[in-house]
């Protein structure tokens, strides 16, 4: 009896729906990116505080290097122990979703296409040495390459959005 009551409570317990705006998230992310980059050894390279692509690359490559003896590229900040930003983001998002009752398993509709998108975005991001976040971070850091990469990204987003709009209206 107690077990069913507990189950009932877990299923219907009051959820704390914490509301966070995009603006607040942007500010906190920028501060954290600068602070870990400057004070907590997430460097070199410079402006490396948050990057989903590069930190993800460091993680997978150093796992492979230490387990099957490959010699794949790993940034200097990840040489001793790989950066765990990407792992943290997945867990943090899981905590946010479970605590607000938004966690839901949903099956993909086109897994092959999403897989290929993943491969392609990672390749382009590593080519530019940064995902959308780090390109902006490098731009804010004052790098010409950051400006170029971020400018390219904005141009890509605008083109793709207009293309999707055009295709939907046809």
């Amino acid at each position: 009896m107690a077990a069913t009551e507990l189950k009932h409570w877990v299923a219907n317990r009051p959820r704390a729906k914490v509301r966070v705006t995009g603006l607040q998230t942007g500010i906190v992310m920028a501060l954290l990116a600068v602070i870990v980059g400057t004070f907590f050894a997430v460097r070199p390279p410079e402006a490396y505080g948050i990057c989903m692509a590069c930190h993800g690359r460091d993680l997978i490559n150093s796992l492979l290097n230490s387990n099957i003896g490959t010699r794949l590229t790993v940034s200097q900040a990840s040489l001793v122990f790989p950066l765990l930003t990407t792992v943290g983001v997945v867990i943090g998002a899981g905590i946010g979703a479970v605590s607000s009752g938004e966690f839901k398993r949903r099956t993909p509709d086109n897994p092959v296409r999403t897989f290929i998108y993943g491969v392609l975005v990672m390749n382009f991001a590593l080519l530019a040495a940064g995902c959308s976040i780090r390109l902006l971070l490098r731009f804010a850091h004052g790098e010409l390459l950051g400006f170029l990469g971020f400018g390219g990204m904005v141009l890509g987003v605008v083109t793709a959005t207009y293309w999707l709009q055009w295709r939907a209206q046809r």
Partner: protein, 139 residues
């Protein structure tokens, strides 16, 4: 150097939580503004840039290590960066979210994003084993 790993894990947890609560996406802001004139995510993107721009010099002064900028500015790097940025922006819109957003969605149980992440990590290995050596040979 393990400091960096622990710090990055904590940062990841915080931004993952915030990203889930705010649906933050670094390409979604521009996309939403063009499609429906919605500025919720765009504000986050602009704030990220501005705050980082102000915080970098202050943090570097406090830490006492002024960084050096732009080590290599050869044509190859310039082209790689521009093309890479274009590809990230264009494909992230088609994939329905920047890499950060995909990590958040994966943590939220969306299997489509889990598949994306599988491609993302396989992509990193492909890049260093095949794509980059090939590109460097051509250029």
């Amino acid at each position: 150097m393990t400091t960096a790993a622990v710090a990055s894990l904590i940062v990841g947890l915080i931004i993952g939580y915030l990203g889930q609560r705010s649906r933050m996406c670094f390409v979604g802001g521009i996309r939403d503004f063009i499609l429906v004139r919605d500025t919720f995510l765009l504000k986050g993107l602009i704030a990220f840039g501005l705050v980082a721009w102000i915080a970098f010099p202050i943090a570097e002064q406090l830490a006492g290590n002024l960084s050096t900028l732009d080590a290599s500015l050869d044509t190859t790097t310039l082209i790689f960066t521009l093309v890479g940025g274009l590809g990230v922006g264009y494909l992230s819109v088609l994939a329905n979210g920047c890499p950060f957003r995909q990590h958040v969605l994966a943590g939220q149980g969306i299997m489509s994003s889990v598949t994306y992440l599988a491609g993302f990590y396989v992509g990193a290995v492909i890049f260093h084993l095949v794509v980059l050596p090939l590109l460097l040979r051509i250029s």
